[in-house]
């Protein structure tokens, strides 16, 4: 069995566990410990129905992990939350993602405004070809955040556990850092726009094991102030860091669908669905 972190937050998940199609959902927006409420989300790429009928809640100040086999739509769901799918011309999103009572995937919503509240860290570190300092100050600048920039840069780098390694070379190009440092720089830069949700799309999959552990420790640290949703291929990682786990699988015609949402420990020790059990015990996937 996979080792599960015995963090105290496990077991206190507020969202009711939901099974696809069968769960009874709390009325959206009624629970203030829920920051994102996804309701019957469907995503299409052209004629391809990529994700069907996904519903789950993301509890505030916790880490929610999305796991499942390749192509099951977990990244697609993640990218709906901050409207990154808008960048794909053929993508179409139906359903609701409620955030502070507003449906972020609705027509009248400005994706730029959404992204200013819901930050994202990508699979491959993608620092801008600017100095370390500018990598962080840029986001604040374009978002109209005023104040002491030096202080902001330092705070963000400290929060991302990178300050001690880079404090003497803030003028150097961000691309000169190692992969793990670049990824922490990307996390720091996301924090600079002061989001309350941080989405992470396999943030450690391009990193070595030591850098991976650093990122995981960092996530645990950030959870106090931010809500984190992470997509990961690595089940041990989901088990180590997350409070709630959402398991996706492939349905008919390769449509991604949600199988099970549970507190992480429960999902890994006592899965309710046979498909979840097959996946986490390595019989499938």
């Amino acid at each position: 069995m996979i080792g599960v972190d015995s963090g105290s937050s496990i077991g206190t998940v507020t969202a009711a566990p939901v099974s696809a199609g069968t769960g009874v959902l709390p009325a959206p927006g009624t629970d203030e410990k829920v920051i994102l409420s996804i309701r019957d989300l469907n995503v299409y790429y052209g004629n391809f129905h990529a994700v069907g009928g996904v519903s789950f809640d993301v509890p505030k100040n916790q880490i929610t992990a999305l796991i499942g086999p390749s192509g099951c739509g977990k990244s697609t769901v993640l990218r709906c939350i901050n409207r990154m799918n808008d960048l794909i011309p053929s993508a179409r999103v139906e359903g609701e993602i409620l955030y502070h009572g507003q449906n972020v995937v609705a027509k009248g919503i400005d994706p730029v405004a959404v992204r200013r509240r819901i930050g994202m860290v990508f699979q491959k570190p993608n620092p801008f070809p600017k100095s370390i300092y500018e990598n962080i100050s840029w986001g604040a600048k374009i978002n109209g955040i005023k104040g002491n920039m030096d202080e902001l840069v330092e705070t963000c780098l400290r929060k991302a556990a990178l300050w001690d390694e880079v404090k003497d070379k803030l003028k150097e190009n961000g691309l000169a850092l190692s992969g793990g440092q670049q990824q922490r720089l990307c996390i720091a830069r996301t924090l600079a726009i002061n989001p309350d949700v941080v989405l992470m799309d396999e943030p450690a999959s391009a990193l070595d094991p030591i850098s991976t552990l650093k990122i995981e420790d960092l996530m645990r640290e950030l959870e106090r102030q931010y809500t984190i949703v992470i997509v990961t291929h690595n089940m041990q990682q989901a088990a180590r860091v997350s409070d709630q786990t959402v398991f996706f699988s492939l349905g008919e015609q390769r449509m991604g669908m949600l199988v099970e949402v549970s507190p992480t420990r429960e999902l890994f020790t006592n899965p309710r669905d046979q498909r979840t059990e097959d996946y986490i015990t390595g019989r499938f996937g």
């Binding site: 901050n82 990154m84 960048l87 011309p89 730029v112 405004a113 992204r115 200013r116 930050g119 994202m120 990508f122 491959k124 993608n126 620092p127 801008f128 070809p129 600017k130 840029w138 986001g139 374009i142 978002n143 190009n173 691309l175 990307c186 830069r189 996301t190 726009i193």
Partner: protein, 302 residues
Amino acid sequence: MPAIDLGGRRRDVGERVIGIVLFVCAAISVLTTVGIVFVLIEQAVEFFLQVPVADFLFGSTWSALFNNPQFGVLPLVSGTLWITLIALVVSLPLGLLSAIYLSEYADQRVRDVLKPALELLAGVPTIVYGFFAVTFIRPDILRPIFPSIGPFSALSAGIAVGILIIPLVASLSEDAMRAVPRALREGGYAMGATKHEVSWQVVVPAAFSGIVASFILAGSRAIGETMIVALAAGSRPQLVTNPLEPMQTMTGFIVQVFSGDVPYGSLPYLSLFAVGLLLFAITLMLNLISQWVVSKFREVYE
């Protein structure tokens, strides 16, 4: 004799012949370049035996085709620089903005039409741009604004050269911007940047080396441009600060001499090679600068 022949002598010979043929093809272009430089230098040396290098480089009167000719190249250099400057003022902003539009804003269908059309513009013979400058740009665009403009001027030639090199700037800059990884744009958008901010503050800086290289190549193309200036700029080598005046460029002078009846081996004839050598040196320098810029500022994205 073994039952199975694993020797491959015939294939060996064939491969070697192919290698030699390919080498010869590659060598021809290198040798041609060497030959051109050699001819230029050989004849230019003969010129400089009669005219001191300093008089040539720093003299301010060029009257090669008159009695008592003077060979101060500065008027030709200034004519060339004026035309190049005007051409760059026209082409850099328009080329860069077109590139940003094509790379960041245009949807696929628009780009599929626009980019080949733009590149077609580069295929129009330059002499046609020359007519265009004389018969349209000067009378219909410039004369209403500057009534004093004569039939030939650096301004009308420079604008036509500028139009000629817009596609070069646009196409090369667009290639540089398209090579910027998608992940970098996504990083920008995920920070709450608008399309405008991503284009100007993420993509353009990331493609900086390629964009600058396209500018320099455009400059060296403008310096070497011949037909347009021969038709539209006039043929009066003079050091002036007014682009409405006719001017002669280095290339323009070379055309004038070749189309005239300068005796072979005479001093004006030899001066062609000195001017040609200078032109070659300037464009070579620009190409070296552009290579240096590309290698110095290129960002490596794995």
